[in-house]
């Protein structure tokens, strides 16, 4: 399949689905409170443009910050684990506990601790908790996956721990980290949205709150517009991280080898 087709085919499917949706809503006379037509959603989008963009910016800002903190924290802790089995044994169970506890369940408590007046900080913290674990788990695995013969070779030439970490273990872990980043990028966004729903107060101003407010007031078209923006944001994050992965790996990694058929 050519590259153009790979893009055109899914786009055509989307356009067809939207057309069917539009026609069905008019043909069966569906109430806009149940299901607004795409044209109605577009109208709502234009009408509430400023508000929606503000909400998008809030969600984007917090998601990206949470993601960056999760990557920095996850890699730092993984490096610490790789240097000391003792630290890993001591801390890893707690990282797992943090991971398996549903964010919805801890959101109200964290909100009370930090306070409604600093709701952005609440969302940031909760999203970091959600996005953190894949980075930690995969980077830890990657740092431990260095070729044993290469480790021997480094030792033979008197490499320091630091040189083994920097020149051997971190490059080995890079594909693992980039794979985890694609997962965590999506999770950071989900984390922000879930946390905003769970915190459930008027002080939050992101897309999740926009959806909550719009559905309460039966502005379903506005809710759909916010939902579409969330999807687009998720897609943009995924593509940005895929591009990053390609840029860093395509010269040398097997995953990037294009097979000649």
């Amino acid at each position: 399949m050519t590259r153009a087709l790979q893009i055109l085919v899914p786009l055509a499917v989307g356009a067809l689905a939207l057309a069917l949706w539009e026609i069905s809503v008019h043909a069966f006379d569906v109430s806009p409170i149940v299901l607004p037509a795409p044209s109605g959603i577009w109208a709502a989008f234009k009408q509430h443009f400023a508000q929606l963009m503000g909400a998008l910016w809030t969600t984007l800002r917090i998601s990206v910050a949470a993601f960056v903190l999760a990557v920095i924290g996850g890699v730092a802790l993984a490096v610490l684990f790789s240097q000391s089995r003792m630290i890993e044994t001591a801390l890893y169970p707690y990282a797992v506990i943090l991971q398996v506890t549903p964010v919805v369940a801890i959101a109200p408590i964290v909100t009370i601790w930090i306070g409604y007046e600093r709701i952005d900080l609440v969302l940031l913290l909760l999203a970091v908790i959600v996005a953190f674990f894949p980075i930690l788990a995969n980077t830890t695995l990657g740092l431990r996956s260095a070729d044993h013969n290469l480790i021997d070779l480094f030792r033979l030439y008197g490499a320091s721990r630091w040189q083994i970490l920097w020149k051997l273990q971190l490059p080995t872990a890079l594909p693992y980290l980039l794979g985890a980043m694609k997962v965590s990028g999506g999770l950071a966004l989900i984390g922000v949205v879930v946390a905003e729903f769970a915190a459930g107060s008027g002080t939050a101003t992101g897309l999740a709150w926009t959806i909550t407010l719009a559905t309460r007031e039966l502005h379903i078209a506005t809710a759909f517009a916010a939902l579409a923006l969330l999807s687009l944001l998720g897609i943009a994050i995924f593509f940005a991280l895929t591009a990053l992965e390609w840029a860093l790996l395509h010269r040398w990694h097997e995953s990037a080898v294009r097979k000649e058929v």
């Binding site: 013969n149 290469l150 021997d152 070779l153 033979l156 030439y157 020149k167 990694h253 097997e254």
Partner: protein, 246 residues
């Protein structure tokens, strides 16, 4: 003598006696092949000489302090994220040499191994034989006195293997290296070496220490000479003896 192994044994943590006791002295400029069945501890012996593992008992002594050692593994063992040049200069960079000087020396070794023009290639762009050449260039970059090779050509096709055999003989002569070469190929050991040490099955002991009558030459026609088959037959018989001696 460059190095002397005295009463060396190795018993692994699971209780398996892998090696020894063996006594073996290697003089400067020798090309010594260690031949033996799989699992006879010949690779273990090589790793102990390199200092990567320590013997359970016995002593490894170097005549004039530990020499600079080059090591070539069974696999090319290259860093996939690094180019041929970056791989070849690794020992020098780890030793703290300035980047320009390290690069110059590594480049010279790559050229010597017939890899000029491939300095910027990544391992996945190279054939198995070329990867092994990068691996040898890397081992030579630090200008070792002692070169240890652990079945380096086992995974290569016969033609590539023959070419690398000849290259190795040339490198040994030109650099006045001391080489220890682990293999389980009788003909390879007979072609390459000044001396063949035949080992028995586990725990590996030295069955016979054979000094070859002719100095190795990079001349493939030699493989068909009658004196070559005589040597090969003698190594073969010794291997058989080592298997039966358990």
């Amino acid at each position: 003598m460059l190095l002397q192994l005295s009463r060396i044994t190795k018993t692994f943590a699971n209780g398996v006696a892998a090696l020894g006791p063996i006594d073996l002295g290697v003089a400067r400029g020798e090309f010594v092949s260690l031949v033996g069945p799989s699992g006879c501890g010949k690779s273990t012996a090589l790793r102990m000489i390199a200092g990567l593992i320590s013997p359970s008992a016995g002593e490894i002594a170097f005549a004039q302090g530990r020499p600079e050692i080059g090591f070539v593994f069974q696999e090319p063992t290259l860093m996939p994220w690094a180019t041929a040049l970056e791989n070849a200069r690794l020992p020098l960079v780890l030793g703290g040499m300035a980047r320009d000087e390290a690069e110059g020396r590594a480049r010279a070794q790559l050229v010597k191994l017939g890899l000029s023009g491939f300095e910027g290639a990544y391992p996945r762009e190279l054939s198995g034989g070329m990867k092994m050449r990068v691996s040898i260039a890397r081992a030579l970059a630090a200008q070792p006195q002692l070169l240890l090779l652990d079945e380096p050509f086992a995974a290569l096709d016969e033609q590539t293997r023959g070419e690398l055999n000849d290259d190795l003989i040339r490198l040994w002569r030109d650099h006045s290296l001391t080489v220890m070469f682990v293999t389980h190929s009788v003909s390879e050991s007979a072609y390459l070496s000044t001396r063949v040490v035949v080992m028995s099955a586990r725990p590996g002991r030295i069955v016979e220490d054979i000094a070859l009558p002719h100095a190795p030459l990079p001349d493939p026609a030699r493989r068909f000479a009658p004196e070559f088959s005589d040597v090969a037959r003698r190594i073969s018989a010794s291997l058989q003896h080592g298997r039966g001696a358990r």
